[in-house]
Amino acid sequence: MTDRTDLNRYLPLTEATFYILLALDEPLHGYGVMQKVEAVSQGTVRLGPGTLYGAFQSLEKEGLICMVREEERRKCYQLTGKGRQVLAAQVGRLQVMLANGQALLDGMSSSPAAGRPQE
């Protein structure tokens, strides 16, 4: 089990990195990752090949993903155990953010003046 502070070193993940790790739950090559990320993010994240190539290299170096095979010159990557832990740590942080944001919005809708600075 990797140390928690070690995992926090990677956080927060950029939106691109988050979705790349998410997509690599199954072995995929670059273009497969692009298509999957665009689909699951509902079109909000479209990865450029330069961005993706750089991300593959640094994530592999950090041990968050690993190459599993090569198909017609295309490298296929998959999430490692450490990568999964980093992803889980990020999701944990997002849940805290989401709960805090939701609590604020709920408070605002019940009393419209709440949360606004006094004039």
Partner: protein, 174 residues
């Protein structure tokens, strides 16, 4: 009708890759499409129907993984035109709804310029070492001339490093 390749010379500084992209796009709009590159600073164009193409330059020096690197770009719809001194030239026809950037976020774009900066540093540092450890009292004409040329290169490198560094900072702020 025979289509003749048009050869043009043009010089762009390493920190002006966006200007080079804009120039290539303008050439395509005039019906001259980049077909290959050569030294020194030669661009070969193929005449054809004017087209609205996006040209993008990437900086990549990982030659070991080149086939995988190029496959990723071509899968994403980018045509590879050639490479020169670590720069890779790509082209894609502009269409509505099509992604036209090879770098989709600022962080990765900064990494591209960081790679360029590192590459230039590797060339720059030995030059400085040779220059500063050389005998300053050498009287041979050829020796003095070599020192002068080296000094010119050092100044050029300094400008390039500063320009790229400034560019990285601009990207970090935006």
């Amino acid at each position: 009708m025979e289509r003749k390749i048009v050869r043009k010379f043009n010089w762009f500084w390493a920190w002006n890759d966006d200007r080079e992209e804009a120039w290539l796009e303008e050439m395509s709009r005039q019906g001259l499409h980049l077909s290959s590159l050569g030294l020194p600073c030669i661009y070969y164009f193929e005449p054809g129907a004017p087209g609205d193409y996006a040209y993008r330059l990437d900086f990549n020096t990982s030659y070991k993984d080149r086939a995988n690197y190029l496959a990723l770009f071509t899968d994403a719809g980018w045509e590879h035109l050639g490479s020169l001194g670590g720069w890779e030239y790509f082209r894609k026809l502009r269409k509505p709804g099509e992604a036209m950037e090879i770098y989709s976020d600022n962080e990765s774009k900064i990494q591209k310029y960081n790679r360029l900066l590192m590459y230039l540093m590797i060339l720059f540092l030995p030059l400085v070492v040779i220059f500063t450890t050389g005998r300053p009292d050498g009287s041979l004409m050829i020796y003095q001339a070599a020192r002068l040329v080296m000094f010119g290169f050092i100044i050029l490198y300094l400008i390039a490093l500063l320009k790229i560094w400034a560019r990285i900072n601009r990207l970090k702020k935006s």
